[in-house]
Symmetry: C2
Subunit: 119 residues, 2 copies
């Protein structure tokens, strides 16, 4: 009686900084991948994105937040360079992850037709 059809819910959540988007699902995947690969190039490949896109994405975030979220080095040790998340980058990522978890919890509550406390 409360569920009409086979409709499903979807939602997105993201963190903003002074009204501008900071990190959402896409950004989280990118940061995650950079953390895993220690390389922007590898991360982009792993995600099937262009390096350019990822790089622009990072710069946009950094411009918005006003501090670096990745730390890079050129010519390095094993590879020829690399990248890793800064403290800011890491905390941004984990902050988003937590939210995402909460959100999907919220969604499945709704999906079960739950009413929770109304007032």
């Amino acid at each position: 009686m409360s569920n009409h059809k086979k409709h499903t819910l979807s939602a997105k959540i993201w963190i903003e900084h002074e009204g501008k988007p900071l990190i959402g699902k896409g950004g989280a995947e990118i940061l995650q991948s950079i953390a895993a690969e220690n390389s922007i190039t590898k991360a982009a490949e792993a995600l099937g994105m262009s390096y350019r896109y990822v790089w622009n994405y990072l710069k946009k975030i950094e411009k918005t937040i006003g501090e670096p979220i990745v730390e890079t080095y050129k010519g390095g040790k094993a590879g020829g360079g690399g990248a890793k998340l800064t403290k800011t980058g890491k905390s941004l990522l984990s902050e988003y992850k937590r939210l995402e978890t909460c959100l999907s919890e919220f969604l499945s509550e709704k999906k079960t037709g739950n009413k929770q406390k109304p007032g």
Copy 2:
């Protein structure tokens, strides 16, 4: 200690039908406006959108859901035509509104740094 900076949260929620988006904030505003104006043209104007866009939007939703969400007539009574929501359209709109309310409630809970029950 739990809030890092002046970051804020934003989120979107929408209803899908077999994986395809049915109605979100944009669609709700359109339906709402049509209900208020009894005219697609007026609704589009009121929202600062082109008639074309609104009309395409409606058609896309109708194609997805498989039934009409607006009922239109040409040449009519006062104006020269008009439109109103079908039963489906109305229920879709109110379904979304309810969700939106829940979502913003959820967001403000998060904003207050609330933890709710963890398990």
